[in-house]
Structures are given as structure tokens and as C-alpha cells.
Amino acid sequence: MENSVKGDGLMVPKNLQPFKPFSRSNTRSTAFESTGIGYTLLALGPSLSLFIAVIAKKPFLILTLLSSTLVWLISLIVLSGLWRAFLPFKTGSLWPCTLIILTSVAFQEALRPLFWKIYKRLEDILDAFADRVSKPRLFITDKMQIALAGGMGHGVAHAVFFCLSLLTPAFGPGTYYVEKCSQMSFFLVSAVIALAFVTIHTLSMVIAFNGYAEGNKVDQYFVPAVHLIAAMLTLVNLAQGGCIIGIPLLYIMALLTMGHCGKMVWRRLTEIRSRQGSSF
């Protein structure tokens, strides 16, 4: 139980106590913990700031975040249930990985309209409640914030399950390298990829909800396309030294998503503002 072989010859020890032969000086242990915290913040830092600035103030958004994370966790469990019979596959081989990623992305994107339907129902309930307590109905910024919280749930679920759960050895001495990408330590690579995916997932939900609300086909198809392309780009990492190309391309997709989302939000806000005619 102490050591287990996971994946492509990567040994990850199961016990959680880092090996510390001399525990007399505190500086050594803080150095180890700080690298672990560093990798964690690399993957989740922007989400944490977004959380503290926007979401923590409104309890309903925290609840949305938690339920969204739960939904994506369940989707991951269902996917792994489907593929369990074929595991462990020879990691590093192209076709099984491609198939797995295609099916996973398809399943997750199929969940998104479902999310939207639940959200519509919730919006009706909230509007009825607002009428009953004589308060204004949901503003457009409220709706976007709910979408943002939903997307952030997706991003946080991805970061935790794909990156943070493997970071436990990073809190101790030593580090690991993957053969295919030996320039940086495995922890750094996975944290960097996780950051890109968190951005993509968080903003995709905003774009998708807006697309469904307005009936805008471009937005509706933009989100699954970006998800698929981003997932396919990570397949480039399977080649030897592929991560040098794969990761910058992934960041280009993330920046594309950011740009599109920013443009869309700006357009909607100015539309509403000009429609109202007075200050928002």
C-alpha cells in the first residue's frame, strides 16, 4: 500500500507523511510546503481572487458554485464508470486517449443544455420570490454572475481532480518528471495546464448561458468547439517534447475565450444601458 504505480511508470507514494529524516529545523519543512502551496496557487490563484471579490459576498453564488462542482464531479464519475472496464490502458498510446477525450468532452458538453434548463427554472422561482418580497427582479449582471459561478464550479472541479489531487508529494522533498515532458517538473506542467482549463471552463459557461438566452448560434457552438479543441491540444503532450508546443497553443485558446467573453459581456451591457437610457 505504500507505493503504487499509476499511469506511465509514475510512482506516487500513498502515505501522506513526507519523508523527513531530520525534523529539527523548521526552514526545511516550510520550503517543502511552500512549493506545494505555490503549485496550488498557480492553478487556482485567479479563481481564488475571483471567488473572494465576486462570489463570496453573495451566498446564493456560493451555493451555485458548490452545486456546479457537484454536477461536474458526477459527470467525471459517470465517465470513469463507463471507461473502467478498459482501464488501465497503455498510457501514451494515441487512440485510446483520443477516444476517451472525445467521449468525455461530448458527454460534458451534452450536460450544458441541461444545466441551462435547470437554471431557467431557478430564474423563474427567483423572479417569483422577488415579486413576492417587493424587490426588483434579477438584473442582467446577476444572471451573468450566476453563470460565472456555475462556470467556476466547473473550473475548480477540473483543477482539483486533475491537478491538486496529484500535488500531495509536492508538499515534501523531491519532485517528479514525466518522460514525455522532461523540461519542467510534472507538478508545474499540470498546474499550468490546469490554469488554462480553469479559465476556459469559467468563461465558457458565461458565453454559453448568454448564447442560450439570446438564441445566438455562434455563442452556442463556440463553447463546445473551444472545449473540444483545447482537449485535443492536450493530446499533443503525448508526443515526446510535445508540451512545448501544446501548452502555448492551449493558452491561445484560453485567451481567445477570454476575448470573446469580454466582447460579448461588453456588448450586452452597453445594449442594456442604452436601452435604459439612464445610468445603470
Binding site: L76, A128, V133, P136, A231
Partner: protein
């Protein structure tokens, strides 16, 4: 906050008020487990939970299963006996004795178990602290905690923090139990909780009914989440959760009016008044107490958790009755405002300490495997708690908080461990993610 603020500012506040201390407790227990747990040197302790069978890693599976079942049954019987004793004492009005005993139990937990946790932390991290300083600080910590937890004086934040500390200490101690025993014990306690709260002869149900018929607080350790003062300012006092769920029910029943009529027990001192702008109806939001009890001791029994905190919404049917009740409400509202700053102020949701403890035990045990299982179990428990709270708003009487959360938690733990981990670790170590 401007009066025209969106509803998104305030909705869902009570749920977060209960979920945050639970989350903090679980997080700190996970940190404790991560820093102090060492599988090579873990010594099993002899407690009430493994009186019959001391598990060792070399036993066969069937032996471990049988032994754990025996342990769990013995523990549940012990707890049931002690709870019945508690009901008996409460029935015969030995409330003083119960209060003093709970204070003694809190003192024992803070001093002995809390002291041992602090000592292992100091040993592990090599804090440079001497015996005298430690004794003085620990003594202060214990005494303030004992004074705070059961009395109504003192700032509410201090009381809440000490409750969470109590939960952390007992949960950290419980995680020392062997693995199979822990899981079977959690299942057994969830079933016991369900039976004790909902079945007609259940001890906790009797306790809640006794307490509500006498209209006093239970002499037990219950975490109370107070609503914030903002709600009073915005003119909506009482539970917005109740109104929201009631609205859903109103919509579902297809009626045009959004009023909800329920059988309500009128208690004058609990009335919070709330008037609509156009004065069409006066909605009294009554809040009953919930019960959740007790503290864990190793040789003394423990109580099972309940969750409560119901809000009953009553609509006054006719103008004449409304006038009469206006007078009653007026006077009671005055009483209410006089005691606003006192202990009887706005009531919030209450969750028993046993819930905190067993949620944290489950997450702590998940932490001994992997971080993925921790996160999955955390989400499962929080969603179970959310479901229970929604059920509470619908059912409006005390509900057991353990069963749904523990069931979901165990389900997600085994699903994650068996299904998800090979899948996700396989793809992410090849750096192929989605």
C-alpha cells in the same frame, strides 16, 4: 446596501451560515489528519467504539467485517442507552444536573483531548514553547471554552468558534479508529439517527417534543447560526428560505395566491412581525427550536444529531382576526424589540455538534486515502446537508442530519476510490486533460 438592492444579495444566507462552520471544521480536521497522521506509527486506541474487537491489518476480510459490525452494534446500543437516560432525566426536570454535566463534559474534552491534540501538534512542528506557558494558555483556553459553550452570555462568534473547536477535537480523536470500524460505525450511526429522530418511540423525538412543550432550550451542545443584522434592515426578518420554498410549493399547487396556510403553534415571544408594503397580509414567521445534542465522551455515551430550526409561516385569514392579532403582535413585537439584543433575538438554523463530528470523521478518513476522495466526500456531505435543509423547510419539524450526508459521503468515497481515480490519474499523468 441600498433599498433597491437585488435579492441575490441576501438569499441563501441561512444555508451558508450553517455550511461555513461545517466546511471550516472539515477543512481543519483534514489539515490535522494530514500533518499528524503517520500510518507506520498509528496506534489504535481503546474506546467505546472498539470495545469488542480490536482491528489489526493482518485479519482476514470476513473477520474484520464481523468485528466491525459487533463494534458498531455495541456502540449504538451504548449511545441509545445514554440517550434514554438523558430523556428520563429531562422528563423529571433534572435540567440543572444536565447543564452541569454538559459543562463538565466540555471541560474534559477541551482539557484532556484538546491538550493531547495540541501537544502532538507542538511535537510535530517543533514549536519552541515551554511547559509553563503552555499550561497557562491551555488553562485559559479551556476555561473560556467551558464558560462560553453552554451559556448565553458572551459574543456569539466566540461561542460558535468554541463549538467548532470542540467538533474538531473530538473528530480528530475519532479518526484514530481503525478503518473498517469507522465505516461500519458511520453507517450504523446514520441508521440510528434516522430511527431515533423520526420513529415514534425514538429518544430524540421524545426529547424534542418535551423541550418544545416546555418551551425551553435543550441543555445540549448545539451550534446556532445567527442571521446577520442586514436582514433586519432590509425589512425581511425571519427565514427567507421558508418563503422561497413556500413559493415553490405555492406555484406547484397551481394557486394564484402565494399565501401559505399551515398549522402553527402560536408562541407569543417567538413572533417576528413582518408587514408587506401594501399591507395585504401579515405574515408571522415563527421559528421553532431544533435539537441536536451532545458531546462525545470516550466512556460516556453520546448523543445523536438532529437538525431543526423550522420556520412556520402562518397567514391570518380575516380582517377581524387580523385586528385582534394586531394587538397581540404589537405587544409581542415590543417585547421582541426589547429583547432584540438579548439571547432571545433572531433565531437561526441550529445544527447539533454530533453532526459536525461525524461529517469531519468521514472526511478525515477520506483524507487518509487521497485528496481526490476528500474533495468528493466534502461535496457529497455539503450537498446532503443542503438537501436536508431544503427538506427541513418543507417538513418543518426536526430532521436527522446524518443519514443523507453520510450515505452520499460513503457512496462518493467508494465510487471515487474505485472508479474515478484510475481514470483521472491515468489521463492526467499522460498530460491529456479535458
Amino acid at each position: 446596501m441600498e433599498p433597491g438592492g437585488s435579492i441575490l444579495e441576501s438569499i441563501g444566507q441561512e444555508i451558508i451560515g450553517v455550511m461555513s462552520p461545517v466546511s471550516i471544521c472539515m477543512f481543519l480536521v483534514v489539515l490535522l489528519v494530514y500533518s499528524l497522521y503517520n500510518p507506520a506509527t498509528a496506534t489504535t486506541i481503546r474506546t467505546a467504539a472498539n470495545l469488542v474487537y480490536m482491528e489489526s491489518p493482518t485479519d482476514s476480510t470476513s473477520q474484520k467485517l464481523e468485528g466491525s459490525l459487533l463494534n458498531a452494534v455495541v456502540f449504538v446500543i451504548l449511545i441509545a442507552l445514554v440517550t434514554f437516560l438523558l430523556v428520563l432525566l429531562y422528563y423529571y426536570n433534572c435540567t440543572k444536573f444536565l447543564v452541569y454535566y454538559t459543562r463538565f463534559a466540555a471541560f474534559a474534552v477541551f482539557s484532556s483531548m484538546g491538550g493531547s491534540v495540541l501537544l502532538s501538534l507542538i511535537q510535530h512542528f517543533n514549536f519552541p514553547v515551554d511547559v509553563v506557558t503552555f499550561c497557562v494558555l491551555h488553562f485559559n483556553f479551556t476555561i473560556v471554552g467551558t464558560l462560553c459553550v453552554l451559556s448565553s452570555g458572551g459574543p456569539i462568534v466566540l461561542k460558535q468558534s468554541y463549538m467548532v473547536a470542540l467538533g474538531i477535537i473530538v473528530a480528530a480523536w475519532f479518526t484514530k479508529l481503525p478503518e473498517w470500524t469507522t465505516w461500519v460505525l458511520l453507517v450504523a450511526l446514520a441508521i440510528y439517527d434516522l430511527v431515533a429522530v423520526l420513529a415514534p418511540g425514538g429518544p430524540l423525538k421524545m426529547l424534542v417534543e418535551l423541550a418544545s412543550s416546555r418551551d425551553e432550550e435543550l441543555p445540549a451542545l448545539i451550534y446556532e447560526a445567527r442571521p446577520t443584522a442586514d436582514m433586519g434592515r432590509s425589512g425581511i426578518r425571519g427565514s427567507s428560505l421558508g418563503l422561497l420554498v413556500g413559493g415553490v410549493m405555492g406555484d406547484n399547487s397551481g394557486s394564484n395566491s402565494f399565501e401559505i396556510e399551515l398549522q402553527a403553534v402560536l408562541r407569543n415571544e417567538d413572533n417576528n412581525g413582518n408587514e408587506n408594503g401594501d399591507g395585504e397580509s401579515i405574515i408571522n414567521v415563527l421559528e421553532n427550536e431544533s435539537s441536536e445534542i451532545e458531546v462525545v465522551e470516550d466512556d460516556v455515551g453520546e448523543s445523536s444529531p438532529l437538525i431543526g430550526g423550522t420556520s412556520l409561516v402562518e397567514r391570518l385569514p380575516s380582517p377581524s382576526e387580523r385586528r385582534n392579532n394586531d394587538n397581540a403582535n404589537g405587544s409581542s413585537r415590543e417585547n421582541e424589540s426589547q429583547r432584540e439584543d438579548g439571547a432571545e433575538g433572531l433565531r437561526g438554523l441550529k445544527l447539533g455538534l454530533g453532526d459536525f463530528i461525524f461529517y469531519s470523521v468521514l472526511v478525515g478518513r477520506a483524507a487518509m486515502y487521497d485528496l481526490m476522495t476528500v474533495y468528493a466526500c466534502y461535496l457529497a456531505i455539503i450537498s446532503g446537508l443542503g438537501c436536508t435543509l431544503i427538506l427541513l423547510a418543507v417538513c418543518r419539524h426536526a430532521l436527522p442530519a446524518l443519514p443523507i450526508s453520510i450515505a452520499l459521503g460513503i457512496l462518493f468515497y467508494f465510487l471515487t476510490r474505485l472508479l474515478m481515480e484510475p481514470f483521472v490519474v491515468g489521463t492526467s499523468t499522460s498530460l491529456a486533460m479535458f
